[in-house]
Amino acid sequence: MQMAKEKIDALDKKNVPKQPNGRVPRGVKVRVENAPAIFKRLMAYVFSRYGALMLVVVVCIFTSVFASVQGTLFTRTLIDGYITPMLTSGSRDFGPLLRAIGKVALFYAVGIAASYVQNRIMIYVSQGTLRDLRIEMFRHMQGLPVRYFDANSRGDIMSMYTNDIDTLRQMISQSMPQFLNSLITIVSVVISMFTLSLPLTLITFVMTGVMLFASGKIASLSGSYFVRQQKALGEVNGYIEEMMAGQKVVKVFCHEEESLERFNELNDQLFESANNANKFANVLGPVNAQLGHLSYVICAIAGGAMAISGFGGLTIGKLASFLQFNRNFNMPINQISMQLNSCVMALAGADRIFSLLDEQPETDEGYVTLVDARIGADGTVTESEARTGTWAWKHYHKADDTTTYQKLAGDIVMDGVDFGYVPEKMVLHDIRLYAKPGQKIAFVGSTGAGKTTITNLINRFYDIQDGKIRYDGINVNKIKKADLRRSLGIVLQETHLFTATVMDNIRYGKLDATDEEVYAAARLANADGFIRRLPDGYNTMLHGDGSNLSQGQRQLLAIARAAIADPPVLILDEATSSIDSRTEKIVQEGMDNLMRGRTTFVIAHRLSTVRNSDCIMVLEQGRIIERGTHEQLMDMKGKYWQLYTGLAVSS
């Protein structure tokens, strides 16, 4: 559906440069509109499912931070409370120290337990959330109209299931708890530092400010080079992809030198920018570390001076503890700024996921359903509980509260149908056609004339703007979509098969089909012969859209799949790809078998199909310009005659 894709404006996607490992380095500005709202929605999503568990997690984080702060404070207690007094008093009673160590050990144990519980719970929370999101995305996506899939590229949709979900996993399971942990640590460390020494705390703050400023500067430098590196990487990759795909042509034209020349140019550019980007990113760590040391030294000198002069009541033990806090303080600050970036990144992904979930699903206001039916001797149709092989439309009339039954026959009428993928641009104009049950209607005309579009309307993949389509006399808008589609068979130009056995692929047309029915359908489609020659026959696994089969074989399977569904109406888009005459003959026979006795709409590419049709519609620019049987149209000496004889002038 190239056309629809071109006609509907694709969603505007923000391209976020990513590093190979999926992390965005600091300094690259990722912008998300309305981040707080998305964050709130994401949190609501998590908390509505795992609210209670999350509360436990928060408690655990508090506990473990508290325990680790207690542990750090122990250094002071050890020196000031036990060692120094023992040194000065000369006492050798280690009993109190043992008790203190026991107490701290308890704290540590609690801390470890808390952080283990937290991690354990977070597995269920993050994996559970992702599972729920994935399932919800998929289920919702199944309900979206075909238009959505035409308007969005497969790559964009897939990247939500892979990249966006992956970044979310990182955010929920790592960034968020770490963020919280860092925040709590900072607060508790700051409080502890204040209690130890106000002047030293202020000195630490100043040094942290300097550090943040410096690392911010470096990060933004690195970020700008990083963007350049991504651009260069994109260019090199693009060139490699193109040249590798065309490598045989390069060989045929002895173009190796030229190909290499351009590659070297791009490769050198990439080297240049990669070198710069990595250089600044690498420098960031040492700068922070050494500024941290500097802060440590300054505090040590100032603290030492204070301890000697006794200023502010600073003891050696307090100073030792403070210096440890000083080290502990810089780490969470760096961590927060790192987590912040990956959170923003994840929010961009969450934004895309939520907008998928917000897409309007296909609406269905149809109420006419397809039911098993029995036809009485007098021609009356009654509903049946059991499978009868006969179907009828169950039509409830609200006006007089009656229900009528209409036998499913396959009579299709289009009356004055107008359609456009976008309202401003109509693709089909005033299409009128009548197909009696069992008739074969062929559409011919140049590409872009609107042939494929017509087939999208009968099964309501798209809704028409004006006019009416009637199925057995019922407006298709009144028929429940699922029932309407069940009564239509469709064989598309591009064959799509699923990763499953041949048997399962055919059975896709009728899930409860017996093995016998599958064989019968395959025989009808002329597919039985080749299937039996496959290594595992009907149990052969197909992979990657049936890439282990030839084009012709794939088509035969698609025909068998339609045959087993046994619909009264068939929509066929003949394949144009060139397959050799022998295979083509087999496919053709399969198609003919399938069409027998069914109302068929066929976008014809083969001469025989066209000639054997009951009515041929010649389409041009969305209008039917000629209609009739082959003989009638040939007599008219119009467009069809031109196409058929190949006398059209090429220009």
Partner: protein, 604 residues
């Protein structure tokens, strides 16, 4: 090991930064280890003794050390970036150069997407791993060892606790890591399968909806997602064991040292400052250990990439230029003398069997036959794209193996079945055939290939830019451009491998007529599905299952050759393509549509 040696060669001019990086990192470690030592001295000799002078002196030394650490750290970062980015560049270049020497057989061995992965993702993996190695691989163990030595220098009894802890943690991590990686490999395989099934669903959404299988698909996916969830939970449960083990070890060490240290300080075997330093080293040692195990995982993950790159670098081209090559193709005659051919040397299944074929210079020869009858394999031997397994292929009387390959390929122009245009203008694409061709010559070739008529319809004519993969021209237009490109080489032999399948019959006929008129001396081989394409050839080869079933004039074949008759009658009695007649109109319509789109984009 072999892999490392092959990759290692490509470090080339970046040996210096590659050596300097770890040195700088080691110096940085030394600095970082000395700082806690000076710290102890400040407390012991400065603060406790009330010696402000000592504090200032040692503090000053610490500031200098921090500055030295800054310098080495910055230099280490700089050299590391240079070495790894340079190494990656050399690897890419070496592979790309190597690939240029590949024969068709080599290219077939790796798919083109396989080569792209090696050149892109794999190189990036190696680049990251290399930088990591240079910066951390030496640094982390050294940091651990120096800290350990310092600890031993301060107090051997206490330091032995560290040694025990390190051994204990190493063992635990070794087992846990092994388990975790195995679990995760499993998970990610399943995860990939899940995503592939989503992709399949998205691609086939019309089939899903046409058969009303939404609920079925939902159930299928839900089950798979639940399964993935269970696997992930399993794997992560194993992973989170690492943290508590690490923490428990660290804390046990701290408490043990506090207890033993307190005793020693009291009995004057240890000073308070030394005790503090020991506590600092504790974190240093154990976090370095974590780092080492992390590097280990990272490097082992990149070995797969390294192997794949080494494969490309060591792949020998299956074709070689002769020592004293023939530098001229005398004429366009082609001879196959009892040729057998198979794509792989060890396979007994011959693709071509006992082919004996003699084509005169200047002849037009059609080739028909079903899929898999080896039509393409046959013509690929002529310009030595592949090499005959047995027998001799001669062009202009000489064995193709005696020619300089470039000479041969310039004189035997093949229009491949799966052909590509490259991003660039039409003119640039045409000049692949002959880089010195004037615009006039290009126009002439295009006229012959019936391409001029649509090129001049484009607003930019011959300067129209072809997008990557040639997506902005129709299939038929692409084929005609490819024919023109081949014609520009002005070859003695032109091979069209199903090159007009998307061109309508009338245009196809006109191209053939133009070729006949403009280049009567050129030997032309035309592979086609359509009988009309070979009807007017001097002679037609009928291929069947790797053998030549018939080689005669079309008239005689129609009389005597069963396969030819079969194909002829199917196509003439209405089994043919209606669409191909409609091709001309379609082409015009497509071209107009595409132009409109292009213009729209330009306006944007």
């Amino acid at each position: 090991m072999e892999t490392i040696r092959i990759l290692g060669r490509e470090v080339r001019e970046f040996k210096r930064p590659s050596i300097l990086t770890p040195i700088m990192m080691v110096l940085e470690v030394v600095v970082e280890t000395l700082i806690p030592l000076l710290m102890a001295s400040i407390i012991d000799n400065g603060v406790q003794k009330g010696d402000m002078h000592h504090i200032l002196v040692v503090g000053g030394a610490m500031v200098l050390l921090a500055l030295a650490g800054l310098l080495t750290g910055v230099l280490g970062g700089k050299y590391g970036a240079l070495a790894s980015a340079g190494f990656a560049r050399n690897l890419r270049r070496a592979m790309y150069e190597r690939i240029q020497t590949y024969s068709f057989a080599n290219i077939d061995k790796y798919s083109s997407s396989g080569l792209v992965t090696r050149l892109t993702t794999d190189v990036t993996n190696i680049q990251n791993a290399y930088q990591m190695m240079l910066r951390m691989f030496v640094r982390a163990p050294i940091s651990m060892i120096t800290a350990m030595i310092m600890a031993f220098l301060i107090n051997a009894r206490i330091a032995s606790i560290y040694l025990a802890a390190v051994i204990f943690l190493s063992i635990v991590m070794f087992f846990l890591m092994g388990r975790v990686t195995k679990f995760f490999q499993q998970v990610f395989r399943k995860y990939d399968a899940l995503n592939e099934s989503v992709e399949e669903n998205v691609a086939s959404i019309r089939v899903v909806k046409a058969y009303v299988r939404e609920e079925y698909e939902k159930d299928k996916f839900t089950k798979a997602a639940e399964n993935i969830y269970r696997l992930f939970v399993q794997a992560e449960k194993n992973m989170i064991m690492l943290m508590p083990t690490m923490m428990a070890t660290v804390y046990t060490c701290i408490l043990l040292i506090s207890w033993i240290g307190a005793h020693m300080v009291v009995s004057s075997e240890l000073t308070t400052g030394e005790l503090m330093s020991l506590l600092t080293y504790c974190l240093n040692i154990l976090s370095s250990l974590m780092m080492v195990s992390f590097i280990f995982v990272m490097v082992s993950m990149s070995t797969a990439s390294a192997k794949r790159i080494a494969e490309v670098l060591t792949e020998e081209s299956t074709l070689r230029n002769p020592e004293q090559p023939v530098g001229e193709v005398p004429d366009g005659s082609i001879d196959f003398d009892d040729v057998d051919f198979s794509y792989s040397s060890d396979s007994r299944e011959m693709v071509l069997k006992d082919v004996d074929l003699h084509i005169r210079s200047g002849e037009t020869v059609g080739i028909i036959g079903g899929t898999g009858s080896a039509k393409t394999s046959l013509v690929n031997l002529i310009s030595r794209l592949y090499e005959a397994t047995a027998g001799t292929v001669r062009v202009g009387g000489h064995d193709v193996r005696d020619y300089d390959m470039e000479v041969l390929r310039r004189q035997v122009s093949v229009v491949l079945q799966k052909n590509v245009l490259f991003s660039g203008t039409i003119l640039e694409n045409l000049r692949w055939g002959n880089k010195d061709a004037t615009e006039e010559e290009c126009r002439k070739a295009c006229e012959m290939a019936c391409a001029d008529e649509f090129i001049t319809q484009f607003p930019d004519g011959y300067e129209t830019v072809i997008s990557q993969g040639g997506t902005n021209v129709s299939g038929g237009q692409k084929q005609r451009l490819c024919i023109a490109r081949a014609l520009l080489a002005n070859p003695k032999i032109l091979i069209l491998d199903d090159s007009t399948s998307a061109v309508d019959t009338a245009t196809d006929a006109r191209i053939r007529a133009a070729l006949k008129e403009a280049a009567p001396g050129m030997t032309k081989l035309i592979i086609a599905q359509r009988i009309s394409s070979v009807e007017n050839a001097d002679r037609v080869i009928v291929m069947d299952n790797g053998r030549i079933d018939g080689f005669d004039t079309p008239e005689n074949l129609l009389k005597h050759n069963q396969i030819y008759q079969e194909v002829y009658h199917t196509q003439m009695s209405g089994g043919g393509d209606f669409d191909l007649h409609a091709g001309a109109v379609r082409e015009a319509g497509e071209a107009a549509g595409r132009l409109a789109l292009d213009q729209k984009e330009e306006r944007r």
